[in-house]
Symmetry: C2
Subunit: 206 residues, 2 copies
DNA sequence: CCTTGGATCTACTCAGTGCATAGATTGTCT
DNA sequence: AGACAATCTATGCACTGAGTAGATCCAAGG
C-alpha cells in the first residue's frame, strides 16, 4: 500500500479526500429519490457525511452543483444517442426512430435528471461545459437527420427545421410522458410510451 | 349605493372582502416577474397587503393556490386553441398549423404560467377542475386532428397517435423555445419561433 | 337592539433552506 | 521544522411553508 498516491478511498478524517465526487453521487441519488423540487444542498451534504458548508469549496453554490449534474446527464444522453444511431445496417428513418426511442427511454429512466437538464432557472446556462455537453447531444441527432456533412448552423436557422422538428416531437413526447399525460406513475408512462411512440414517430417526415 | 349587495370593492378593513381573487392576481403577477422558482406564498400575501397566514382560509396550501392558477391558465389556453381553430374557411392542415402557432405563442407570452402548468410536483394533479381544464385544451387539438366525431379515447390509446404527434411536436417546440434552446431572452426565442415554427410544422403529417 | 356564532385575518412559532463568515484542522512545499 | 493554502466545522442571517392561538368583524336570531 503506497500512502503517497492520492487515493480515492482515503480514510475519512477531517479532510474527506474525494468530496467532490461523493457530493455528485449523493446529489444524484437524492435527486432520483425526491425529484428536483425535493432536492436540497444541505441534505446532499448530510448524505455525504459532511457539514453544510463543506460543499462550498467544490461548488460555488447549489446552482453550480446542479449544473455539474446536468452536464453529466447531457453527456450520458449524448452517449446513448450516438450508440443508438451507430447501427449502419439500418436505413436512415429506422435509425432516426431508434434514436428517438433512446431519447424517450433516457427521459423515463432518468426522470429527475432529465427534468433538471431543462430547469433553466436552476442552472448556469453560460457554463461552457454544460453548453458543450448539450450541443453534443443535439449534434448526435442533427447528424442523423441532416446528414453527416451538413453545414454547422445556429439552432435558430430555418435550415435547421428538419432537426428541430425531430427534436421537438421526441422531446415533447418525452415531456408529456414524464409529466403524467399518459397516466401518473412510472409504469403507466412507460407502457404508454412503448405503445404510442412508434405510431407517433410515423407522423414525422424528415 | 346599496350597502347590502356584497360588493367586490369593499373598503379594506380587518376583512379584506375579496381576498381570494386578490391573491390570484398577486400570484399571477409575482409569477410573471420572478418565474416559478422565484414564487413564494408569503410574498404573494405581502403583495395582497395581508398577513402571511391569511391565504390559508382561501387556499389550503401553496399547492392549492398554484393549482388554481394552472387551472385558469389551462382554460385560457383552451380558449385560444378553440379560437384559432374556428376559421372554417381554411383547410384542415392550415387550421392545425394555426392552432400550433397559437399554442407556441401562448407559451412564449405566458412563459411562467405555461411553465407552471407542467410542474407536476407543485400541483394537485387529482384536482378535478385542473383535470377538466387540461382535458379541454387537449380536446380542442384532438377535435381538429382526429375530426369532430372521432370516438373519445384514453390519451394512451394507440389510435390517439395523430393527436399525440401533433401535441408532442408543438409542445416540444414550445418547451425548447422557452428553455432557451434558440437563444436566451424573450426576444430571441420569439424571433426564432416565428422563423422556425412553420418550417418545423411542415414535417408533421397527420 | 344586542348578542352570539362563524368566518376571516393577525401574530407568533417551528423546522427547514441557501448563503456568508470566522475559525479549526490537515496535507504539502520549502 | 515551519509556513502556507486548501479543506472542513460551526454559527448566524434572512427567507420559506406550515401550524396554532387569539383578535376582529359580519350577519344572523332572539
Amino acid at each position: 500500500m503506497n500512502p503517497n498516491l492520492p487515493s480515492v478511498k482515503m480514510a475519512r478524517g477531517y479532510h474527506h479526500g474525494d468530496l467532490r465526487a461523493t457530493l455528485l453521487g449523493a446529489a444524484k441519488s437524492l435527486l432520483a429519490e425526491k425529484g428536483v423540487e425535493g432536492f436540497s444542498l444541505r441534505e446532499t451534504a448530510r448524505r455525504a457525511g459532511v457539514s453544510s458548508g463543506a460543499p462550498k469549496h467544490h461548488f460555488r453554490d447549489v446552482r453550480a452543483l446542479l449544473t455539474a449534474i446536468a452536464t453529466l446527464a447531457f453527456d450520458e444522453l449524448a452517449d446513448r444517442l450516438e450508440a443508438a444511431s451507430s447501427d449502419c445496417s439500418a436505413d436512415r428513418m429506422t435509425r432516426i426512430h431508434g434514436q428517438g426511442a433512446a431519447y424517450v427511454r433516457f427521459a423515463l429512466e432518468q426522470r429527475a435528471r432529465f427534468d433538471l437538464m431543462w430547469r433553466v432557472a436552476l442552472l448556469d446556462m453560460n457554463d461552457p461545459e454544460r453548453c458543450r455537453a448539450g450541443d453534443r447531444a443535439f449534434a448526435a441527432m442533427d447528424r442523423l437527420v441532416r446528414g453527416e456533412d451538413a453545414p454547422e448552423l445556429e439552432h435558430s436557422d430555418p435550415r435547421m427545421a428538419p432537426s428541430i422538428a425531430c427534436w421537438s416531437i421526441v422531446h415533447g413526447f418525452a415531456r408529456l410522458a414524464i409529466d403524467g399525460t399518459f397516466g401518473l406513475g412510472v409504469d403507466a408512462a412507460e407502457r404508454a410510451a412503448d405503445a404510442l411512440l412508434p405510431a407517433v414517430l410515423a407522423h414525422l417526415s424528415v
